[in-house]
């Protein structure tokens, strides 16, 4: 993620819901948008979003409300190493 956030591991954005936060992120970092959202604008399924350490699936999904100081973690699956014999 850091790669698409101009080297930052954390950013602060005003947003009142998770959906609003993702839209704001995509607007500020256009290259991230392609990775984050599919062609219909939905969050790609290999991303997971946690609000204060809890998966949004356990909350209200993308409509989960956000408050100042909430910490949102956006996590994509990682494959790992894979050398030259792999699928790169």
């Amino acid at each position: 993620m850091r790669y698409y956030l101009e080297g930052q591991s954390e950013v602060e954005l005003p947003a009142s819901s998770v959906a609003e936060l993702l839209s704001a992120l995509a607007a500020r970092y256009p290259s991230l948008s392609f990775h984050l959202l599919d062609s219909d604008g939905n969050l790609r399924r290999h991303f997971n979003v946690f609000v204060n350490g809890v998966h949004i699936r356990e909350l209200n999904g993308l409509t989960t409300p956000l408050h100042p100081q909430d910490k949102v973690i956006l996590m994509a699956s990682a494959s790992g190493g894979k050398g030259e014999a792999g699928y790169v």
């Binding site: 850091r2 591991s9 350490g53 996590m75 994509a76 190493g81 894979k82 050398g83």
Partner: protein, 390 residues
């Protein structure tokens, strides 16, 4: 792991001396060490994660360790894969690891599986082990490892790494979520960069691998609170350890109440990528150009646009003259700098990022575009060996 059989297991004087620092810990003690000796662990992969995992489990006295790998040791491995050595370059990885593990601890048993871990052999290989440690490096094998652990009712000690980041958890469907609860679907092909493309700090797998080894020992010894139901997110640059809660996904297709995946499937098809062989570009082979074909094209048309989507620091390692450099991460925002009417070849290190860039360009309406199969490393091997391979 309450089902580990302790009867008939004893420690020799030599073992008591070797494991004395364990025996001194009241939570481990003689019974704990006997449990480790009676235990078996399968380590899938002997790379960056599998190296520290297998070394520490061997040193700890886990009685039987299985190692699975189909690859050979090459020099790009040695920056992090510390179970291998310069002296074992070119050897089968399982042979290299076998010798090193038994050199570290000849009092254990090491079983080797010099083959890809596939839907056909995974259940047979994993069945006789107490704990499975996922040290794989690709999505098909990761999903396979998860699923067979669910089918066999075994814990799956998970780790993954990229650059300065690592994840670790214990997926054990009998007590918590599985990997599919978290990631129901793999990313689209080429969407997530690998360490072969993006790199990894060599010590990051040591950190994550030692956590996996610790979690494995805790499971075997029945100690502490495991990472079941929690995911560790580690970042070396910030030296941050974040934990998030994981719960079972009621819609999980492999461990949920209405699971419809009950045996190993075609994981390469599921993930859209082969686990064990190099892929064509994800957009299809008609968009590929080989290094030799590119050499001919450049001879005919020296003005052909070469778009290099690597990071600027990589071009200082090796580059073709006159390339336009737009890193993949900036490409979507800089499409206006490209002329879709002109023919263009996209390249990167080994063909993954360029395949991704190709998809992005095609979706933006570019048609006169190809990507260099195998990247600049293939160019260096096939056309110009004055360039280094990295």
């Amino acid at each position: 792991m309450s089902d580990i059989q302790l009867h008939s297991v004893t420690l020799s004087h030599e073992e008591i001396l070797r494991y004395s620092r364990h025996l001194l810990i009241p939570e481990v003690g003689l019974e704990g060490q006997l449990r480790l000796k009676a235990s078996s662990v399968l380590v899938i992969g002997t790379g960056g994660l599998g190296s520290p995992v297998s070394l520490y489990l061997a040193a700890a006295g886990v009685g039987r360790i299985g190692i699975v790998d189909y690859d050979v040791v090459d020099s790009t491995n040695l920056q992090r894969q510390v179970v291998h050595s310069t002296s074992t370059l070119g050897k089968r990885k399982v042979e290299s690891a076998y010798a090193r593990l038994l050199d570290l601890n000849p009092l254990i048993q090491v079983d080797t599986y010099d083959e890809p871990f596939t839907s056909q052999n995974a259940m047979r290989i994993a069945r006789d082990y107490d704990v499975i440690v996922d040290c794989t490096d690709n999505f098909p094998t990761r999903y396979l490892s998860n699923d067979i652990c669910v089918f066999l009712g075994k814990p799956n000690v998970y780790g993954s790494i990229y650059r300065f980041d690592g994840h670790a958890s214990v997926f054990f469907a009998q007590q918590g979520p599985c990997y599919r609860c978290l990631f129901p679907e793999p990313p689209p092909p080429n969407m997530v960069p690998t360490c072969a493309e993006g790199g990894v700090l060599g010590i990051v797998p040591a950190t994550i691998g030692s956590i996996q080894a610790t979690e494995t020992l805790k499971l075997l010894l029945g100690l502490g609170s495991s990472l079941i139901g929690r995911l560790l997110l580690y970042n070396a640059l910030d030296l941050s350890f974040d934990f998030v809660e994981l719960k079972k996904n009621p819609k999980c297709r492999v461990c949920g109440p209405e699971a419809d995946i009950t045996e190993p499937i075609d994981y390469e098809g599921f993930c859209g990528v082969p686990a064990h062989e190099p892929a064509e570009g994800a957009a299809g082979p008609e968009w590929d150009i080989t290094p030799l074909e590119l050499k001919d094209r450049l001879a005919q048309d020296p003005n052909l646009i070469l778009l290099d989507v690597r990071e600027p620091h990589e071009l200082r390692i090796s580059a073709l003259p006159g390339v336009l450099n737009i890193p993949l991460g900036q490409l979507a925002a800089r499409l206006s700098e490209l002329d879709s009417a002109r023919e263009m070849v996209v390249l990167c290190k080994s063909g993954m990022r360029s395949a991704h860039a190709l998809e992005l360009l095609l979706s933006a309406g570019f048609r006169r575009v190809k990507h260099l199969k195998g990247g600049i490393n293939a160019w260096a091997r096939q056309v110009d060996n004055r360039l280094p391979v990295y």
